[in-house]
């Protein structure tokens, strides 16, 4: 597969993945471009891989996890305001989770690696093995990330709605 063919097949999914992962359009664009520029330079090797799509997702995810930024740019990246979660007053946690801004706030309370694992599992529908390849860890560690991420969300919701909140996470 050459680089142009890869772009035609994968670019749409990559930008959506980066958008969901970061919840920040500019950061998503930055990370996607950066990963693709570097992938382009190494395409002779990446293009021969069995799953170049996973490898490029790994590059995007690594960029997100390490949050590498150029110094010359004028900002460091926007971030969802995690404090807004604790100030939330919507009584039904299900409603709150469905609220887009609250979702950002909830996700901002997780570690980046946990959030990446959640996005790969529940948004992209990846298997443990695929997520492990992207995150560079074992499948067991992936399951741990996902479990802890869900537990973290559950605790957050319970903290805000301790009386009647029922959360089922499987």
């Amino acid at each position: 597969m050459d680089f142009d063919e890869f772009l035609r097949e994968q670019l749409s999914g990559l930008v959506r993945f980066a958008g969901v992962l970061t919840a920040d359009t500019y950061l998503a664009q930055d990370l996607t471009q950066d990963a693709l520029v570097r992938a382009h330079a190494r395409w002779s090797r990446i293009g021969r891989m069995d799953r170049p799509d996973l490898y490029v997702r790994r590059m995007i995810t690594n960029g997100y996890l390490s949050w590498r930024r150029r110094w010359a740019v004028r900002t460091i990246q926007p971030v969802a305001d995690a404090d807004r979660l604790s100030r939330a007053t919507v009584p039904d946690p299900a409603v709150r989770l469905a609220d887009q801004d609250q979702v950002m706030a909830l996700l901002a309370t997780l570690s980046r690696r946990q959030r990446a694992a959640l996005v790969l599992r529940f948004y992209e529908g990846r298997t443990d093995e695929e997520i492990a390849a992207i995150l560079g860890c074992s499948a067991g560690t992936v399951r741990s990330h996902v479990s802890r991420a869900l537990a973290g969300l559950r605790e957050r919701v319970r903290d805000d709605q301790p009386t009647d909140a029922t959360l089922e996470v499987s």
């Binding site: 996607t32 004028r74 990246q77 469905a98 901002a108």
Partner: protein
């Protein structure tokens, strides 16, 4: 009730943050062109013709060797001496041209860049988006843009501004001038990083230099070249980089001046090819790194245009030296002198 489907649906709402594909493609083309230009050579300068360069060492040619790196080979018996350059002393270790006297608890230096007058460092905490950037330069910080707001303040008794960047005014920067006239910026994202935290970091910045650990070393520095800047940290696409130039320029420009050589250390195995494409992403060309010479017992490889040289430093690292005009022989000398 919340279940996996709820989480899936909630994450799906974040698709709205996906960037436009055409904008990503435009940025990709720009990035590729920039990378390509950085690696291009206007002309290959023969070392023999370069002023000030005198043959001293012994360089061997290993014709016909292929492969894509691996451990550094020993010099091949029976190979032919070719050329060499005058070598001076190892480059000076990096020194951050300022000191940050206080950072929030749990924050650590993640990435840094250090020139003679300009430098920057990013400190990150253990939680998401905890990041504080300290940036010092002889050049003023870029002016505010539409939508930014500024309010006057003082930092360590000197006049400055608090700039809040558009669109949401949460990106906050303290900007002021240090005692020696350089400009300083301390930035972070509110409220993850509190204004009081940024102020305390800013108040702790002094002009005193801070020695840093070099991410790698060179055994020698080419004659006539000086260290322009170092970069390093735990959050780099490579282990670190060094820019050496005949005319020292400050970092942060994002480009490599023609009289400079960029040296970097990477994890893994040195590549066998370098890829070149035009700005439309058409007609990709793999340029083999097949011009081999052994320099001081280290196999170096370069493409035909002589813009780059690579060498395997050890089993886990390879080094690259790139320049628009230095010439492949000098690049080989430099890359062969890299030590991890």
């Amino acid at each position: 009730m919340i279940n996996n489907d709820s989480v899936r649906q909630a994450l799906g709402t974040l698709e709205r943050f996906a960037p436009a594909e055409d904008e990503v493609l435009a940025g990709l083309r720009t990035g590729i062109v920039r990378r390509r230009k950085r690696r291009q050579v206007a002309s290959v300068v023969g070392v023999a013709g370069a002023a000030g360069m005198v043959a001293l060492g012994v360089v061997y040619v290993a014709p016909g060797r292929g492969g894509d790196g691996g451990t550094p080979p020993a010099a091949t018996a029976g190979t032919t001496p070719t050329t060499s350059v005058k070598i001076a002393t190892p480059p000076a270790a990096p020194v951050l041209p300022f000191t940050v006297g206080w950072t929030p608890e749990g924050y650590s230096s993640q990435i840094w860049e250090a020139g003679r007058t300009d430098g920057s460092v990013q400190y990150t905490g253990t939680k998401d988006f905890q990041a504080v950037v300290v940036w010092i330069s002889a050049k003023p910080r870029p002016a505010a843009q539409d939508g930014d707001s500024e309010e006057p303040t003082t930092v360590a008794g000197r006049m400055g501004v608090i700039r809040r960047l558009a669109p949401d005014s949460k990106e906050t920067q303290f900007i002021w001038q240090l005692d020696d006239g350089r400009w300083a910026m301390v930035g972070g994202r509110a409220p993850t990083v509190q204004l009081a935290t940024l102020r305390r970091v800013a108040e702790s910045v002094t002009t005193k230099p801070t020695p840093l650990t070099a991410p790698f070393s060179l055994t020698t520095l080419p004659d006539g070249y000086q260290v322009a800047s170092w970069s390093g940290g735990s959050d780099q696409p490579f282990s670190g980089s060094l820019t050496i130039c005949r005319t020292v320029s400050e970092p942060l420009a994002g480009t490599l001046a023609p009289d400079c050589i960029g040296v970097s250390l990477h994890d893994g195995t040195a590549p066998a090819v370098t890829l070149r494409k035009d700005s439309s992403l058409k007609n990709p060309q793999e340029i083999p790194m097949d011009r081999e010479q052994v320099i001081d017992g280290v196999l170096t490889r370069a493409p035909a245009d002589g813009t780059e040289a690579v060498a395997q430093v050890d089993a886990g690292h390879w080094a690259s030296a790139v320049s628009q005009a230095a010439g492949v022989d000098l690049l080989r000398q430099v890359v062969a002198s890299v030590r991890s």
